[in-house]
Amino acid sequence: MGGAPVKENAVRWLTALLLAAGLLSPVSASAFATDVKVIANASVKADIISAPELRRIFLQQSSSLDNGTRVEPVIEKDGLVHKAFVQEYLGRTQEDLQTYYRALVFTGRGSMPKVLGSDAEVVSYVAATRGAIGYVSSDSDTTVDGVKTLLVIPAGNTAERKLVRSVEPKYPEMLQRLGIGGTVRLALTVAPKGNVENVALLGGNPILAESAIVAVKQWIYTVGRTRSTLEVSVPFDPRR
């Protein structure tokens, strides 16, 4: 009588255990520890941002996105998320970034960005501030009115190949229910016609990756003269 639900629960927990074990393997652990997602105030007219564009914004070389939307960067004071973001997207250490901002401030070429102490503070500031753009841990709760997650396309020849159609990946129901999320990193080969020819997994949860790959294969880029290779990061937020 009650055997079926018990068995179902056991399978679910076993699956969760295996997934957790997978996430705790040495490779995944480091990926998990440094996963960040970029968030922006809902007023920001973009769902996708390229890594070079993100870099220009946070290094104060530009105060607006390529599409003209005004943005205001907000950074975290310190911590693993800050370290990961600064290294991955700005190519600097935390100390170098601090030095960079101070050089701007003391030569009249910029100002200190807003500095906040935690993911929660960043989320609430971004939610309340028009044009704000920040970063938080990929497992932070960003299901807040006025906040959206931006898809970051890492450095590549994005100037030549703009994404013109994207398809949202389907979140595996069980992982979402178990609150398992993360960011999947993929390398795409884009044909001259703009379709995605090939996808290679660079990092992230393998089950989430399956879903991401299915979606990404349906993406369409602008036409190019040659075949291009791009890297993309696809975030999965279980609370969305």
Partner: protein, 411 residues
Amino acid sequence: MRRRIVELVIVCFWASQAVLHAQEFKVLGRTVQVHGFVSQGFIYTNDNNWLTMNTSQGSAAFTDFGLNMSSHLTDKLLVGAQVYDRNLGQLGQYHPSLDWAVVDCRLKSWFGVRGGKVKTTLGLYNDTQDLDFLRPFALLPQSVYPTDVRDATIAHLGGDIYGTISLKHHLGDFSYTAYVGHRSDSIYSGFAYLASQFDVYYSSYGGLQYGGDLRWNTPLKGLLIGASRIDQDLTGKAKFISPYNPAGGFVPYSDNSRADWANQFYGEYIAGKLRIDSEYRRFLHSDVVNGGILYTSDDVRAWYVSGAYRVAKRLVIGSYYSRYVITTAAGGPLAALFPAQTDTSLPANHVYDKVITGRVDLNRFWNVKVEGHFMDGYGDSLYPDGFYPQQNSQGFKPNTNALVVKTSFNF
């Protein structure tokens, strides 16, 4: 001395608590940021006195501070100003100056305009040379960034255009700056102090300054290379006592540059906690005094190689080798007073400086540096290069070792 150090420590502790709260405020709905810094150094040398201080006795006449305010009036428009003051031996003498005061409009990432009194972009560190808290070293390589003549290149009253252009095909990005303006030296600068040994007392020194900088963030992560050029057309007004008629008292004096330019080439490589950089500067200055009674020409070639490594979160160690050589020539009726100097192997015509340093960050705002300089040569007395006859009346010795201790606080 001890009392001064205790006072500084108390001020730093107090300030580090205070600044955690009051770095910005609102005016008419706009956020105004306030930032400042203060540094205090001590130098002891074994032989020659250095940087216009009596360093052979140990000198703490090595203080500077700055305070700035800035605000974004719009997302593209930044306004701000900074006051700077210093006392370096006989230089500065606590006469505050407007360090920069700018209106900066960045229209696009590839194009912006700034005007006012603007920090001059020249090489890696010219515009930040006063900000020692940005670097591991207490003193920048004096061959390329002589602190006694900071006024010569630190800022211009004029305007810049600037921007960063991303290159296609993963070729990195180019940043450019072009500027034109007016340079105005303090009468408490190294040039004026140097001239006072010849009984020449400046009331003004400055003129047109223009140039540009181009730097390439290469596709190799962490590698930057660049080049800068500066040209100047300078005039000095002074009074002096003629060596041929000292009883005649002060008479008017003027000098005008015939050529004044510098080319600078540089590279920087950052890999994680390691930073390596190197620069080369060629500087040529020639001028004519009082319409032709004397022509002088100074030709400086300087370079350095520097490396620093952050061995722990709060500890950085570093070292550099800095090399400076100068040749001089003179012409006109008074040329006999200034014989040509062309042999750069003589200690009078070079300074070779080997430096080691350690920097400890006590917290995010406050650091302490201890630095050793091992110098060969003392340069030439016709150009400011750290060693002045006024402090070395007994004559120069060929080598100088220096211990520099410096602490700085910023918020």
